[in-house]
Structure formats: C-alpha cells, structure tokens
C-alpha cells in the first residue's frame, strides 16, 4: 500500500468513526439512544484499535489535527463516559457532538472525500 493509499485508508476509517459517533450522539440528543446503548455503541466503534494503528502518523502532521481530535474525542468518551455523565450530565454530550461535527467539517474542507467515505 502506497503512502497515499495508507493516508486515504486512515482518512476513511477516522471519518467513518466520526460520522458513526455523530449519529450515536444525535440519537442521544433526540432521546432515541439511552445510556446503556450509548456505552455499547461506543464500545462497538472500538476507537482503541484505530488509535493504536494511526496514532504515530497522526501526531506527526498538523494537517491531521482534526482526525486526531475526532479519534481522541471518541476514545476518551468511550473510556470516561460514566465520569462525564456523572460530572457533567447527559446533556453535555451535545458539546462532543458539536466538536465532532466541527472537525468533520474541517476534514471535508481540507481533504477530497469524494468516493472515500461510503454512506453511514
């Protein structure tokens, strides 16, 4: 796999996890997703595997900062969602949704996403 192909795969994987988390959090906002389902969903997204795979690449390039941001948000949310809900309440997840969407928008403006990310 060439460097460009590898980067394209990373872009695809991280954009996909960002979109899926966004859908999950939107579900929380409209009360279609409860706490248990949220935890299950975050666990299913398995951000740790992507973190392990892409972390060394992401920290090297400032252009990838939005991808690192998305991955970090999902990763830390998965690990600390109980803490967040206890300390900040369920509604605080709207800030994470906003942050993920903002980073997805930045990625969309920075990279050519056509044909990279299939519909969620």
């Amino acid at each position: 796999m060439s460097k460009n192909q590898a980067d394209e795969q990373m872009l695809k994987d991280i954009t996909r996890i960002g979109l899926r988390t966004s859908v999950l959090l939107q579900g929380v906002m409209i009360q279609k997703v409860d706490e248990e389902t949220l935890k299950w969903g975050l666990n299913e997204l398995d951000p740790g595997t992507l973190m392990e795979k892409y972390f060394p690449v992401l920290i090297q390039n400032a252009d990838y900062v939005d991808m690192l941001n998305i991955l970090h948000i999902v990763y830390s949310l998965q690990g600390q969602v109980d803490f967040q809900i206890r300390e900040y309440g369920f509604d605080s997840l709207k800030d994470d949704l906003h942050e993920i969407n903002s980073s997805l928008k930045q990625i969309g403006e920075k990279f050519d996403l056509e044909n990279v990310v299939p519909p969620v």
């Binding site: 992401l58 920290i59 830390s76 690990g79 803490f83 300390e87 605080s92 994470d96 942050e99």
Partner: protein, 322 residues
C-alpha cells in the same frame, strides 16, 4: 434526598471501579503532588520543573504530568523533542528527559506547535483522566502534576480523580492581586479534600549586582497569606535573570546555575517538602513485567468476567471497567 444502603454500596463500588484504573496506573508512584496557582504568570511551571530537578538531584525517581492542556510548556522547558509513544492500544509511555525526569504532556502527542487545543470542560477532564489511567510511569518517588492556573475543570478533575493525592503546593507572587486569587485556589483544594503542603512565593525579590535587594512586588506577602490561610510557608524564590535562558535552553535552572540564589532556594524547598511527607511504601515496580496490551485501563469493556482476562489481571483486582 437520601439513598438507601444498597444504592450507597453501588455508588461506592462504581466510584472505586471508575477510579480503579487511575489507582492501578499510579500504584508504583510513592508521592503525588499537584502544583497549583490562583492566576497565570506566577512561574508555576518553572517552579514545577525546578522542584522536579532538585528532587531528581537528591536521588529520587521523578515524573511530571503536565495537566495544562491549553498551554503545555513543560516539554519545552525540559528540552524534549521526542513524542510520547503508545504502548499497545491504550498504554502511553512518558518521555524520558536527558536528566532522567519522566514527562507526559498533551504537547507530546498534539501535532504542530501552532495547532491549538480547543476542548471544552468535559473533554479536558476526560483527557486528564484518560492520560492518568494510561501512563506507564514505572516506579517513581515523586510525581509532580503541573496544573493550569485557576480553579477550572483541569484542577478539579485532578483533585477528584487521584484519591490518594499527597498534597497541593500553591505558587504565588507577592502582588496583592496574586495573593488574593491564591486564597481561592487554597480554599478550592481544601474543599475538595486535598491537603495543602504549603505555599511558595515566587519573584519575591531582586538582588542587583551592587548587592542591594529590592522587593519588586511587596515584602512578605506570601508569608502573610500562608499565615492567614493557616498553611505552611515553604520559601521564597528571588527573581533570577538566568531563569529565562534556562527555560529557553530546556535545562532546569537548578542544573544550569546550581550556585544561584534561586537554585539554592528550590533545593531547600524540595528538602522541606521531602521532610514534610510521611514515610510511605508502595509496591516495587516489576520492571520485567509483561505489558498488558489488550485491556485499556479506563475503558468499560462489555466482555464478560472470565478467569483468563486479556489484561492479565484477575476480574476482582483489575480495577478496569469490566
């Protein structure tokens, strides 16, 4: 509105489980001390770096956790060029400095010197907890935690997340405005159950070449604040023009100019701190241990309890969110 015994037991169990990963990650660290200030610009980070260097010079194993997510400057002040490395899917290895101090900072894995971190309160708290539970410090005598100024999310997250924090050191300058807000930081620490080990007055005076000493921002303000708040006064650090050079060159002033008044003051304060802390034993770091790779400490797995957990720990003792 009260809760019954069953609910209380469940609450306790949940808190233990959630903090368990952090406790587990810090179990080989003897003393955990947070460095706090009421306002920015009082030299808290410089104090952290120099106290760490003085403690290291006294033969201790020392680590610094840079919890200042928006303005992480510990790596620059210690001349660190390497990035932090993931160890498996979850564990994060701190970076060793040339002087042997271990450092973990968000600056060590955030790309680009000019890329800002724009997280909100809960993301900052989560990040701090995630890093605390993921760091592989090894055996440490002292872990100094450099907090951002004030009493925002990061200090609160630290004070709430480390159950056996040994204490807080407050750094201030002698100005009225600084001592005033320091009292808020002291009250915030005590209200969260953290012991205040003492107060350091930075930039206390300047001694010019002719030998005259000038108290630029007032005299004994730090000492008076410590007396008023009924906390120990650890010492004064005079203004030292070589401090700036030391910070820019990435070498602690304590090591660059060990004979300077400021360096001697830091060494004395580090000795006072060491003497203040009670004798404590922690398990010895098993250096040859097999790194648990697949079981992230702060994660809440959904896999069922089983005898051979992938993290290598028993279900009861793991402390992870199984």
């Amino acid at each position: 509105m009260g809760i019954d015994k069953k609910q209380f037991a469940e609450q306790q169990r949940r808190q233990l489980r959630e903090n368990g990963a952090i406790v587990e990650a810090l179990k080989y660290v003897k003393y955990k001390i947070a460095i706090l200030s009421g306002k920015g610009g009082v030299g808290k980070t410089a104090a952290t770096v120099n106290l760490a260097a003085a403690l290291k010079n006294a033969g201790n194993n020392v680590g610094i956790f840079d919890a200042d997510l928006h303005g992480p400057s510990i790596p620059a002040m210690l001349g660190i060029k390497d990035e932090a490395k993931l160890n498996g899917a979850f564990w994060l290895n701190p970076v060793d400095t040339g002087s042997g101090i271990k450092v973990l900072s968000v600056a060590l894995f955030w790309p680009g010197d000019m890329s800002p971190i724009m997280w909100r309160g809960q993301t900052k708290s989560r990040t701090i907890r995630q890093l605390l539970s993921a760091a592989k410090w090894g055996g440490l005598d002292y872990l100094l935690i450099d907090l951002p100024p004030g009493t925002g999310d990061e200090p609160i997250a630290i004070l709430k997340s480390i159950p056996d924090l040994d204490g807080v050191i407050v750094v201030t300058t002698p100005q009225e405005v600084s001592t005033l807000v320091s009292s808020k930081a002291i009250n915030a620490s005590t209200s969260l159950g953290a012991k205040v080990l003492g107060l350091i007055e930075n930039m206390s005076s300047y001694t010019c070449g002719c030998g005259d000493t000038v108290h630029l921002f007032g005299k004994n303000k730090g000492k008076e604040l410590a007396k008023m708040m009924d906390i120990p006064f650890l010492g004064s650090i005079p203004v030292d023009p070589t401090f700036s050079d030391a910070a820019d060159s990435g070498v602690p002033a304590v090591n660059m100019n060990p004979g300077s008044i400021a360096a001697k003051a830091f060494t004395e304060i580090s000795q006072i701190i060491s003497e203040k802390l009670p004798v404590k034993e922690v398990p010895e770091w098993p250096a040859d241990t097999t790194e648990p790779k697949a079981c992230p400490g702060g994660h809440h797995h959904c896999h069922p309890p089983q005898a051979s957990s992938s993290c290598g720990n028993s279900f009861d003792g793991c402390g992870h969110g199984h």
